[in-house]
C-alpha cells in the first residue's frame, strides 16, 4: 500500500442527481450572534419585536471588523438561547418565529443594471460589508476585505471544485443557478478591474461543464470567463492547489494569493455576491447537503440560514435504524467537525451535515510504509511529525513544518495501518503555536 493516494471515494452519487428540495419556511430560525471569528455582539431588537425579511437585527464584532446580523425570515423575535456551533462551543443564538408572511424589509430592492454598471471597487466593498458577506465555503472570512485589495488582480477564480466526499451542494447550485455564479464573478471582475475570470470544477463533473459553457457562450460571450476542469483528486479544492493547477501559479506557504495577482471565491460566495449586488440581499439562504450512510433520504436542500438541522433530518425521514452509534459531522467527512448533538443550525458557512455510521478502525503499528508522506498535499512528513509528537520533541515538529498542515485528513485516510495520523499532526500544530 505504498502509494501516493489522492483518490478518495466520493459518495456523491447519493445526492448529486436528486433535485434540490426547497425548505424555506421553517417554524423558527435561530441566528448565531457569535461565531468563530466574532466573539461579541450588540442586538437592536427585543423579544416580541417584529422583524422583516432581510432586516438588520444586530451587529457582531470581530477582531478587526464588524458584521451586521440579518433576519432571514419575517416574524417575531423570540428568546436568546445557546446552541452548539461548528467550533464545538455553545454560542448565543436568537430565535425568530416565522409569521409566514414573508414581508421584505424596505432595503431589499433591486439595483437596476445601469446603476450596477457604474459601481466601482469601493461601492462594491461597501455593499458586501453591509450585507455581511463571508466565505460561504466554510472559511467565514469577510469577503469585503478580500475584495478591497489594492494589489493588481489578473485572475479571479471561482472555486467550484467541492472535493470533499459526499458533498454536492455546490454542484446543485451551479446546475440550478448558473447565472448567479457567472454574474457574481462578473461583478467581482468589474470591481477589481480584472479581465480574466475562471470557474474551476472537477474534471468528472461534465454536467457542470456543459451548463456553464453553454450559459457563458449564449449570454456572456463578451466576458473573458473560462471554465477549467481540474483533477479528480483530493484536496483539489484547496485554494493553493486550484491556483497551481488552473493557472500554474504557485503560492508559497504563508503568502497571500493576492500578491500573486489571483483571488479566489467559493461558488456559493460568488452567488451571494450576485444577490447582494443585484437584489441588495444579505445571505438569507444557502444550498445545503444533508447526507451520509446513516440517514434515510440523503438530499440537497435550499434552506434559510438559521434552519435547525433537526428539522432537516426529520425532512429526510430521520436516522436509519440499523446503527447504534452515528457521527453527525458539520462539513465534509475529511475536514468537517463532529458534533455531540444534532441540535445545531445551518449558519452561513455550514455547507453540509453528514450523518455517518460509526466505524471503528483497527489500528496497527506504523509500518513506515511512507504513504502518508507521499500523499500529503502540503509536502510534509506526517509520520515523522507523529513520532516527534510521541517524543514531545518540539524542535523537531518545527523543523518538520507541522504548522503548514492544512488538516486535510489525507494522511489518516491513506494510512496503511489505520493510524489517526492527522490527529498527531494537529497536536503538533497546537504544541508549537
Amino acid at each position: 500500500m505504498i502509494k501516493k493516494s489522492r483518490k478518495v471515494r466520493d459518495y456523491k452519487e447519493l445526492t448529486r442527481a436528486l433535485p434540490t428540495q426547497t425548505y424555506l419556511d421553517p417554524e423558527t430560525v435561530y441566528i448565531h450572534l457569535q461565531n468563530g471569528r466574532c466573539k461579541t455582539y450588540d442586538l437592536y431588537v427585543d423579544e416580541g419585536d417584529h422583524v422583516d425579511f432581510g432586516e438588520v437585527i444586530g451587529v457582531r464584532h470581530g477582531g478587526f471588523f464588524e458584521q451586521p446580523i440579518h433576519a432571514t425570515i419575517s416574524g417575531t423575535i423570540g428568546k436568546i438561547g445557546k446552541k452548539l456551533h461548528r467550533t464545538g462551543r455553545k454560542v448565543d443564538c436568537i430565535e425568530i418565529k416565522n409569521d409566514f408572511k414573508n414581508t421584505y424589509h424596505k432595503t431589499i430592492t433591486d439595483r437596476p443594471d445601469h446603476v450596477i454598471d457604474k459601481l466601482d471597487q469601493d461601492d462594491m466593498v461597501e455593499i458586501l460589508k453591509q450585507k455581511a458577506l463571508v466565505g460561504l465555503g466554510g472559511s467565514g472570512f469577510p469577503s469585503y476585505i478580500k475584495l478591497a485589495t489594492k494589489e493588481t488582480i489578473n485572475h479571479v477564480v471561482v472555486n467550484a471544485v467541492e472535493c470533499e466526499p459526499y458533498l454536492s451542494s455546490d454542484y446543485r447550485l451551479i446546475l440550478d443557478r448558473p447565472e448567479e455564479v457567472i454574474m457574481g464573478l462578473k461583478y467581482v471582475m468589474q470591481a477589481l478591474n480584472c479581465e480574466h475570470g475562471m470557474i474551476a470544477i472537477k474534471a468528472d463533473k461534465n454536467p457542470l461543464y456543459e451548463v456553464l459553457t453553454q450559459v457563458i457562450e449564449r449570454r456572456y460571450s463578451d466576458l473573458n470567463i473560462e471554465v477549467v476542469r481540474l483533477g479528480n483528486y483530493y484536496p483539489q479544492g484547496w485554494e493553493i492547489e486550484v491556483f497551481k493547477n488552473a493557472l500554474g501559479i504557485e503560492v508559497p506557504h504563508g503568502e497571500l494569493p493576492m500578491s500573486y495577482g489571483v483571488l479566489g471565491f467559493n461558488v456559493s460566495t460568488t452567488a451571494g455576491i450576485y444577490n447582494a449586488v443585484k437584489h441588495n440581499l444579505p445571505v438569507v439562504e444557502r444550498y445545503f447537503t444533508l447526507t451520509g450512510d446513516a440517514i434515510n433520504y440523503p438530499q440537497n436542500y435550499r434552506v434559510r440560514v438559521g434552519t435547525s438541522i433537526q428539522d432537516l433530518i426529520r425532512q429526510s425521514d430521520g436516522y436509519k435504524e440499523d446503527f447504534d452509534e452515528v457521527l453527525v459531522v458539520m462539513g465534509g467527512p475529511m475536514m468537517g467537525v463532529s458534533t455531540v448533538s444534532d441540535d445545531v443550525i445551518v449558519s452561513k458557512t455550514t455547507t453540509s451535515v453528514i450523518v455517518l455510521k460509526n466505524t471503528e478502525y483497527k489500528e496497527e503499528p506504523c509500518v513506515r510504509c511512507g504513504s502518508c508522506v507521499y500523499s500529503c498535499p502540503a509536502h510534509l512528513e506526517p509520520v515523522q511529525i507523529m513520532n516527534a509528537v510521541k517524543r514531545n520533541d518540539k524542535d523537531q515538529m518545527k523543523s518538520l513544518h507541522a504548522d503548514r498542515c492544512i488538516e486535510c485528513g489525507l494522511c489518516a485516510y491513506v494510512c496503511t495501518s489505520k493510524i489517526h495520523v492527522t490527529d498527531y499532526v494537529r497536536k503538533a500544530k497546537r504544541l508549537i503555536r
Binding site: 459531522v329 444534532d342 478502525y361 496497527e364 509520520v383
Partner: protein
C-alpha cells in the same frame, strides 16, 4: 421519522479511511509474491529445501509467540492462547521467516537454521519493541548469523561440475574477470535458475522478478528501491565491463547471480527498515547497490547483499533525520546525487584497475 434515536458520538476528522489498505495485507503480499520462488526451491533442491523453509518460519513464529506470552505474564496478564501483540495474523513473522529460509544454502543443518532464526527475530525485532520498531531486517540478521557463526556448516550442493560448495558468484570471485564462468552457467540459466547452485530461493531471477511484478501491481513495496539497487549494480558492472573489455554478459551475470534479486526485491524493500521519503528511498537503493558491488569485487566474501542491507539499515535514521529529510526532490539535491553517482563509478573503475 424513526422512534429509535442512535447515540451521537464525537470523533475527529477524517471520518473515512482508505479501503483495502492494511498492514497485514502488505506483509501477506510479500509471502504470496515469494510462492513461485519457494515452489521452485523445493522442486530444485528437494525435501531439504522444504525442511529449511519450514524450520525457519516456525522458529521465528514460535519465538515471537513465546516472547509475547512471557512479556504478558511478566506484566501480570492472564494467559490467553492468542495474545494481542503476537503477529501471526499480520504475517510479519511469517514473511521474515520465509525470506530468511530462502536465503539459506541447501546444505544448512536444520539446527543452525532454527538457532539463527530464533536469534535473528529476537535480536533484530523483538528486543527493539516489535513490529515497526526494528532497525535491522530480521531475515538479514538471521542470515548473517549463519554466515558468521556457521559458515563451514552451511554449504552449497556440489554441482554437476564438481565445484564443491560454490555458487555462481563465488566461482567468479576466484578469477575476477574470466568469461570461463559462462561455460558453467550460461546467462539464460542464471535467469531461469535451472541447474544453478546457490541459496535455495535465490536461483531463479525470473520467478523473483515475477513476484516483484505482483508486489508492484499491489503497491505492496516501494519499487524505487529494487530498481535503484539492481540498476546501480548493473551500471557499475557495466562500467567495469567496458573498462576491462568484457561483454554485456558481465553486468547481466552480476544482477542474475547471487542473492541480488532476492535481497533487492524482498529484503531491501522492507518498509520498516528503509527510509520514509521518496528521495531517501532512491538514495538508499543506490547506496545498497554500491556497497554490494564493492563487497562483491573487492571483499573476501562472494556475496554482499545481506551485508549491504544490514549496513544501510544502520543509516536509515540518518536518511530520515529531521533536519535533512525532504519529501520531494529538488534541483540542488538531484545535482549532488548525480555527482555522487559519477564519483562512485570513477572510484570503482580506479579500484578495479589497481586490483586487476
Amino acid at each position: 421519522m424513526t422512534n429509535t434515536m442512535p447515540k451521537i458520538i464525537r470523533k475527529t476528522s477524517p471520518y473515512l479511511r482508505r479501503p483495502n489498505a492494511n498492514a497485514p495485507r502488505m506483509m501477506r503480499d510479500v509471502t504470496i509474491a515469494l510462492l513461485p520462488a519457494t515452489f521452485f526451491a523445493i522442486y530444485s533442491f528437494g525435501l531439504p529445501a522444504l525442511w529449511i523453509i519450514l524450520t525457519s518460519i516456525v522458529s521465528m513464529l514460535v519465538t515471537e509467540y513465546v516472547f509475547y506470552q512471557i512479556q504478558d505474564l511478566l506484566q501480570g496478564e492472564s494467559f490467553k492462547v492468542i495474545n494481542k501483540q503476537f503477529s501471526l495474523y499480520n504475517f510479519s513473522a511469517v514473511t521474515s521467516g520465509l525470506i530468511y529460509g530462502l536465503t539459506l544454502p541447501d546444505q544448512t543443518p536444520l539446527w543452525v537454521v532454527a538457532l539463527s532464526g530464533v536469534l535473528g527475530i529476537l535480536l533484530a525485532k523483538l528486543l527493539f519493541g516489535g513490529m515497526g520498531q526494528n532497525i535491522f531486517n530480521p531475515a538479514a540478521v538471521a542470515r548473517v548469523l549463519v554466515v558468521v557463526n556457521f559458515a563451514t556448516l552451511a554449504t552449497y550442493q556440489t554441482n554437476i561440475d564438481g565445484v564443491a560448495g560454490a555458487t555462481a558468484l563465488s566461482m567468479n570471485n576466484a578469477d575476477l574477470f574470466s568469461a570461463d564462468v559462462l561455460n558453467h552457467y550460461p546467462i539464460m540459466d542464471l535467469f531461469t535458475g535451472i541447474g544453478i547452485p546457490g541459496s535455495i530461493g535465490e536461483t531463479s531471477a525470473l520467478l523473483l522478478l515475477l513476484g516483484g511484478g505482483y508486489l508492484a501491481v499491489r503497491t505492496s513495496f516501494e519499487i524505487r528501491i529494487p530498481l535503484m539497487y539492481i540498476g546501480t549494480v548493473f551500471v557499475l558492472a557495466l562500467a567495469v565491463a567496458i573498462q576491462q573489455g568484457l561483454g554485456l554478459w558481465y553486468p547481466l551475470y552480476h544482477i542474475f547471480s547471487g542473492g541480488l534479486m532476492l535481497g533487492a526485491i524482498y529484503m531491501a524493500t522492507d518498509p520498516i527498515t528503509s527510509p520514509i521519503t521518496k528521495p531517501a528511498r532512491v538514495y538508499y537503493g543506490f547506496a545498497l547497490g554500491v556497497i554490494t558491488f564493492i563487497i562483491r569485487i573487492f571483499g573476501a566474501l562472494p556475496e554482499g547483499v545481506v551485508f549491504s542491507i544490514l549496513i544501510m539499515n544502520m543509516f536509515v535514521t540518518s536518511f530520515d533525520y529531521y533536519k535533512v529529510t525532504h519529501p520531494r526532490f529538488n534541483r540542488k539535491r538531484s545535482l549532488i546525487f548525480i555527482a555522487i553517482i559519477i564519483l562512485s563509478i570513477v572510484v570503482t573503475l580506479v579500484g578495479v584497475s589497481y586490483a586487476g
